[in-house]
Symmetry: C2
Amino acid sequence: MNDLLLRAARGEKTERSPVWVMRQAGRILPEYRAIRKSISGFKELVETPELAAEVTIQPVDILGVDAAIIFSDILVIPEAMGLPYQMEEGRGPWFPKVIKTESDINALHVAEGSELQYVYDAILLTRKGLNGRVTVIGFAGAPFTIFCYMIEGRGSKTFSEARKWLHANPEASHNLLEKITQSTINYLKLQVEAGVSIYQVFDSWAGVLSAELYKEYCMPYLNRIAQEVSQVPSIVFAKGAHFAMSDLLSSNFNAVGLDWTLNPADLAHIGSKKTLQGNMDPTVLYADDQYVVQKTKEMLTSFSGIPHIANLGHGVYPDTDWKKVKLFIDTIKAN
Amino acid sequence: MNDLLLRAARGEKTERSPVWVMRQAGRILPEYRAIRKSISGFKELVETPELAAEVTIQPVDILGVDAAIIFSDILVIPEAMGLPYQMEEGRGPWFPKVIKTESDINALHVAEGSELQYVYDAILLTRKGLNGRVTVIGFAGAPFTIFCYMIEGRGSKTFSEARKWLHANPEASHNLLEKITQSTINYLKLQVEAGVSIYQVFDSWAGVLSAELYKEYCMPYLNRIAQEVSQVPSIVFAKGAHFAMSDLLSSNFNAVGLDWTLNPADLAHIGSKKTLQGNMDPTVLYADDQYVVQKTKEMLTSFSGIPHIANLGHGVYPDTDWKKVKLFIDTIKAN
């Protein structure tokens, strides 16, 4: 079994950096698009374990990544808590019902995790299909990012409604974050039971906060998740949270993902020994082969001497040529 | 004449921090909304000097700011270069025609500045209306931000098309940035001739880049603007560009704006003596009065010992109660 990812996540010295790509199971692969076209929509794919397992395994076969991340969505948690999401072609996810008042928060229940059996079934089928070839990665959204979706109902440039809650209604905000955190812990524990050997928490909207707000509304919940789900190694990726790097690097997570705006050298003063993940700019993959190879090597060099998991600094953009992604991966594996 | 802003921008010690607010002339004011409702749309307001001057002066009368920033839009520059913009109610600006190929770039002309006479007329009328009460601020978009709009046609979460050009077509990207820069210099020089006594360059989409890309595709153009338009003091505000702060703090601009994710203490190691502007989180203004006053004072304290222009860390959000904005301003003036 290829356990490079687990060893690197635990901070062990590895013969090379393991590599996987955020959003590797998805629209970049023609094989994914073929399946997607044959069904009713995104949610059918997420909720049908056989199909979810199939697209989870595709990048292992086609791209040669060192790990398979289970095909799902961070928004299954709000749905399990009582706020179902919908996926709109080309515009992304949205929620017909959102949190508007404190009583909306009180009406939400903590997910037990058992609501999401289709995810655990997909994990079991993925493990069976992989037959021990590579590691399976589980994942969940960070409490603040889920909080943003529950309040705004969809993506936003500023998430000003969600941020308004933090300033204008701190107690209710903590109540909601608490419920999301407990739901997420229940969910990740069952993912581990089903057989993921590592997981990542995605704080996709972290960048709209500040050091002060991140310390108050994010770190305690993130740390609780990593502490309570510590049976397997864990990675946290907080996009745009340059202001929170010292907190994340001293958190309970084993590894910290960097987006493409950060340079490992800028974090050296923090003196952390944690594993770092990342972080090539995904738009590099739009350039010619020579440039892709050069930038991939530069990225590897920037992490030299640090326990490292190679990845992009953001999810791969859907219109990327999968051959460039493969070139990125091959370059890392040949290094 | 209240010249606090000019003195602070030049790095002089002032009796208190001058204050203005990004997007102070706009939808937060009922008086603005009344005018806006009486006309055909946003562009009529921008292009009618009497009306633009009127809404420019409103926040001076109503909010008591120390400066009036001319009511206009950064997208007048692409329009003057040959790509007209439209403003869609609720969704923001967009371009019916965008840059798709190198020959599209070659077809663009450098704006002479004279295309935008309505802006200079608005500046003249504003100065007349203010009768010397406060400083008039001019502005333009940073070349990279204009480049993003010209290529993407509208706002985007990732600006992956624009970033693609930088990696995949660096020479053409520089050609386009060069044309935008020259147009911007011509435009700002005429704003100065019309009587602005300071100007700000907005790099609204800077945050999607990285230290390396910012050094290559932004700093040379920004520095050229500040160098060629040095008759009056200048401010640069690059939202999200945490990775470029040391470059900006050693640039040709007099003052550097900080977004709300940055803390002046984090920049101390750079050792710059430049004036800083900012940077309260605009969503603080959604909270109760006591909290607004407390956070405003904390913000002022965070800049103590540094030449400072008080402002928010982002444009004020349109659904903010103007009385909270006034409280922010009054608190600064009373400090």
